[in-house]
């Protein structure tokens, strides 16, 4: 039953994705279906795609991570300062980039550890813990920069955000690699399996010998690291970093995770579904941009889409339940008739 429902959910998503894509392609082939537009779409979505992957992982364990954008801001500011400093002190670009990446990973691990300890160690509900750290991390980013933006990075760092390999944007390649890694983590490792267990039923997981605390701490470290990696793409694409950048991504990340079939109550979510959710969001966004709708209309549409998807999921779920009950009644009736 679970497998059937799962595949049908992804199938619906696939249909929605194809329909939107075909409509936009037919409606404006000269603008939508061009190499440049496809390329720019492929380089736009990875930064929030990584945040959405992080959100999905937190949701699989039955939690939520409201601090992802703030973690990105914090690590982004630190990386930006290291890179900008390297130009002034004329450190070799390679060394500076390596340092920046290492710093981002180290800082994001610490951020994730703070979240994890609050949630799993002390037992603070994920909403509250990450609400607090959202303020804390963003606050740190603001304090470090005094609210100003940091800009001017080595030329070679730009490749990360705007370079291409054989015409394929580098951010896209990074995203594909990380999505594959997350997929392997969720499907092939003990940590992944345990995340679904904890998300479906923490008590059962605990009594089945799962170390819930460890699983949750690892999960929030992973989500923070994904947010950190997203920040590298962000600052490279924008060539600057200003604290407060990308606050709209929080809603989009939650939207995409839910759109991609992740259950916000925990226990279910697939990378495949999420990726289709991201593609749907990105092509819709691109279509709205080409038709030059205002950002306010887009804001309205994202809210509407999030609500519509959840209502549809609810109705589908109810329909499936009813069908199952009816089938069972039929079987019962058949059984009675046979008697």
């Amino acid at each position: 039953m679970k497998i059937k429902l799962k595949s049908s959910k992804n199938f619906t998503l696939f249909i929605i994705m194809m329909v939107i894509f075909i409509i936009l392609s037919i409606a404006m082939p000269s603008k939508f279906l061009t190499g440049i537009n496809l390329q720019s779409m492929a380089s736009q979505f990875p930064e929030f795609g990584l945040l959405a992957l992080a959100m999905m992982m937190a949701m699989i364990t039955g939690g939520i991570d409201l601090s992802v954008v703030s973690v990105s801001n914090f690590t982004g500011v630190i990386a930006a300062l290291i890179l900008a400093d390297s130009i002034e002190s004329s450190t070799p670009a390679g060394v500076a980039i390596l340092l920046a990446v290492l710093a981002v990973i180290a800082v994001s691990i610490v951020c994730g550890l703070v979240n994890g300890l609050l949630i799993a160690g002390i037992g603070v509900p994920p909403i509250l813990a990450t609400l607090g750290t959202q303020g804390l991390f963003l606050g740190l980013a603001i304090v470090i920069t005094q609210g100003h933006s940091v800009s001017g990075f080595p030329e070679s760092f730009m490749a990360l955000g705007s370079g291409t390999v054989l015409g394929i944007p580098v951010p896209f390649i990074i995203f594909v690699l990380i999505a594959l890694l997350v997929s392997v983590l969720l499907n092939r490792t003990r940590q992944g399996f345990n995340m679904y267990m904890v998300g479906s039923n923490p008590t059962v997981a605990k009594f089945s010998g799962v170390n819930n605390t460890k699983v949750l701490i690892n999960t929030y470290i992973l989500t923070a690291v994904l947010a950190g990696l997203a920040s590298l793409i962000m600052i490279s694409r924008a060539n600057s970093m200003r604290p407060g950048y990308g606050t709209a991504y929080l809603l989009q990340a939650i939207l995409v995770a839910v759109l991609g079939g992740t259950d916000p109550d925990g226990g279910f979510g697939t990378v495949k579904g999420l990726v289709m959710g991201i593609i749907i969001l990105q092509i819709t966004q691109s279509g709205l941009n080409i038709m030059s709708f205002s950002p306010f209309f887009k804001k309205f549409i994202w809210g509407f889409a999030l609500l519509a998807i959840m209502v549809i999921n609810y109705l589908l779920h109810k329909y499936n339940e009813r069908k199952r009950v009816m089938e069972m009644n039929k079987l019962k009736a058949a059984g009675q008739a046979a008697d």
């Binding site: 909403i127 750290t133 303020g135 999030l306 209502v311």
Partner: protein, 334 residues
Amino acid sequence: MNLKSLFKKNETYLLLIVIVFSIVITTINPVFMTWENMFDLLRSSSGTAVLAIGIFVVLLSGGIDVSCTAIAICGQYIAINVLIASGVDNIAVAFLISIGVGLALGAINAVFISIFNLPTLITTLGTSSLFHGALLEWFGTKAINVGNIPDSIKVFGKMNILTFTRPDGTQYGLSVFFLILVIIVVLTWFLLKYTMIGRGIYAIGGNREAAKRCGYNIRKIQFFTYMYAGLLAGVMGVMHLSLIRYSNPNYIVGSELSVIAAVVLGGTRISGGTGTITGTLIGVALITILEKNLVLIGLSSYWQQFFIGVIIILGVTITYAQNKINERKGLRAA
């Protein structure tokens, strides 16, 4: 009530923190502990407190509402536009329109949450984007300057219920906003304590299944909860307007997290069923002092976000660590 039970309460600790904090600020800058500054704090934080009470009621019912700031700005901006367009110059009309908008948008939240059974955080995140996007798209993005704000609104913002005269002849006083806050506090307290629907809010927050079996009409209670929060958001929208005498459709939105933080710091459980208005008000006081008075002790405003984060983390850590310790004690005793 004896001293021991007083020290088991969250509110007591919170109040102590507020007092210590106030003493620290006063020793650094004596301006803080003057009637004038206190009245000023009350005037500027009454709106936040009204919003916080709405969120408090929602949290009690086991939900969360991050859309109330969007509702407040929708109420405010629509009300002021209607007032200017129709030429009506009456504060009561402004309140009525804003409250009407608040009730309607609150009802939309309730439809999703109650009828479609959707998770409250994600629903209100969605509706917040929906409401604010719709406001900016269809009602405009232009800020309304003080020159175009009807006089009755400006007069209301300066109205005092108590007036004092400084030695130099100028006046200051306790704002009418405080009166609105007191009315709302008493009304909410009465609703929660003495009406069936109020007891129902506590009941469904504490244990939804049990409340259902006791015969509470959950759908009705949820509609009441979200519409009440919408109503208070509408009230806050007009209060904010007459306080700053300026209407920008991008204001208020974005402050929802610090309002929720205030409520949660006040000891309201995010899982529902537990919490008091007193706690909520103290929580608002703490957040307001942090937001408005860091400058008084010479810290730049860049530290605001950071300190709010720290306070939320400390607050929830203490609450939940206490729970954990109590649970362990309970286990050992059994």
